[in-house]
């Protein structure tokens, strides 16, 4: 390969960066800003809705153990349904409202969140649970003041995986006219054979995922000061284990 080729490639790259920069500057107010906001809103709402469904399911799965295996199969089967199919399936009912994207995305988070809620509750040590009963905690108070707080690090570990997975999946909803940054990639970039919006869409999507993860880490540190300095403890090792398993699961499902 000659020097000329290398030089022209370098020039191409500079030109591409300049193009991306120019396009970004010209389109910041529209469509980049609104699409970024939409992407964040869709992801956040989906994960929140997922958590609201996963909590009672997880509580039931932890309390009535025979219930858990079929429940786990159920949420995994849901995860295996291609997202595109779910979006189109919902279109007749929810039309082009955000719910067409939010409902499937929320259902997908269950495959990550339900096992983490169950694992989190199951790892509350038995002697702690018994001590709580013996002190005179009623069942509800025990759940809210003892079991859930102790399960929190594992639940947050699940939320981190679910958020990142959801943020990357929102883009697919652009196929039904939703999908935030996915629309930059699909409508503004891909369909016009114009790379700049595709690159901007990817960069912002990754940045959003990083931001969401950082916020959750900060939230966990603030909510569970007691879990700090337990890095070598069994609990944290277990959290990592669970998080890693969840990552593996989400990768498998998205490919």
């Amino acid at each position: 390969m000659g020097e000329g080729t290398t030089a022209s490639r370098a020039a191409d790259a500079v030109a591409a960066v300049a193009e991306v920069w120019d396009w970004t500057a010209a389109n910041l107010d529209d469509p980049i800003g609104p699409k970024l906001l939409e992407h964040a809103q869709l992801s956040f709402t989906s994960v929140l809705l997922g958590l609201l469904i996963a909590l009672p399911l997880g509580l039931a799965g932890a309390r009535w153990r025979p219930l858990y295996p079929p429940m786990l199969t159920g949420v995994n089967v849901l995860y295996a349904v291609p997202s595109l199919a779910l979006f189109f399936l919902l279109l007749p009912y929810t039309g082009f409202s955000p719910w067409t994207a939010i409902i499937p995305l929320a259902l997908y988070t269950l495959a990550i969140l339900v096992p983490n809620v169950v694992d989190g509750l199951n790892q509350v040590p038995d002697h702690v649970r018994q001590a709580a009963a013996a002190m005179g905690f009623g069942p509800l108070r025990r759940l809210l003041q003892v079991e859930l707080p102790i399960a929190l690090p594992v639940i947050v570990a699940g939320l981190r995986v679910a958020s990142v997975a959801t943020i990357s999946m929102v883009s697919v909803a652009s196929l039904v006219g939703l999908g935030g940054l996915g629309q930059l990639i699909l409508t503004h970039g891909f369909k016009r054979n114009f790379p700049a919006p595709v690159i901007v869409g990817i960069i912002l999507s990754v940045a959003l995922a990083f931001l969401a993860d950082a916020v959750l880490v900060a939230l966990q540190r603030w909510l569970t000061p007691w879990a700090r300095g337990r890095e070598s403890g069994a609990t944290t090792t277990r959290n990592r284990h669970i998080a890693r398993a969840a990552v593996a699961r989400s990768r498998k499902a998205t490919t």
Binding site: H127, A131, G136, P149, W226, G233
Partner: protein, 383 residues
Amino acid sequence: MITFEGAGKRYPDGTVAVDQLDLKIPSGRTTVLVGSSGSGKTTALRMINRMVEPTQGTVAIDGTDVRSRDPVLLRRSIGYVIQQAGLFPHRTAVDNIATVPLLLGWPKARARARARELMELVGLEPGQGRRYPHQLSGGQQQRVGVARALAADPPILLMDEPFSAVDPLVRAGLQDELLRLQAELHKTIVFVTHDIDEAVKLGDTIAVLRPGGRLAQVDTPERLLAEPVDEFVAGFIGYDRGVRRLSFFPARDLPLRSDIVLSAETTAEQARSVAAASGQPWLFVVDKDRRPIGWIGSAGLAGEEGPRPLGTMGVIGYGHGFTVSTDSLRAALDAAVLSPAGGAVGVDTDGTVIGVVTQSDLGAAIWPLGDAGGVLAATSDNG
């Protein structure tokens, strides 16, 4: 008074955890339920605060059947210390201790103030209050557990193998602390353990349960060691119960000899004459502050030059001494067994030597006790 009347627990699969238990647990005293695993001792304990419901018979506190009371409210009125402490990992030591007062609706400031009071009572440093349980040692966690159980000043304290997960040294410290607390607080303590030594040390009364949840014997520790009702109880308390029973007799009445205690400056010649006059084969050497150094045998003295002081010669270690004013005959016997000279060194509370007990004097003091209770004789029969 806690009364078990024909109380039993049979699980749906047919397992009997507790069988027809009749037991009166007096107020203000410590009653220890002891037995091997599967003897139902924890199940019996949990019937008192309705963590386990009896399937037959009744459990009553001061004449009121516990089943007539709301379990949650009942439990708030009974202190509970669990094995491994069962502390809430997400709450600081102070907030753990304040748990029951807060459940009872005390204002937060008052509950915390009470918690700090209790930390002092159980021997925790004020600075440890802000720590989380995992930042405390096993012994400190148990202290927090005991403080938490005492926080609302309940008249009854249930303790389920509370000290079994800590090392023996810490366990002994916690047991002493509990004895000190109980001397001050006079709670009705029901204590579950599988460790007969712990039972003998802590209990005013000991109830021995046999596998299958049946009561074998209820007695004071001393009587239990002296007169086990059957082979099972005798086997459970172990074949050294004769020696163990010596813990109930004080060492202060032992004849202490100071004539064979010599200072380090004493010359070999002087020591030889002391040995000859006393007829004792072993002499004990102390330093100028009367602190113990060790034993020297008359055989070792024989070859030494006359003017040589004892302090420059090789002495033999004495193991450990016993504190004359507070220790028991068991401690004195142990000191003698560990000493190569066969005698025990009696020290004052400040560690200075008062005198030594010779092997024959110790034997003479112990033997009649064994004869009187038939303990030592019975022990050899069982062996």
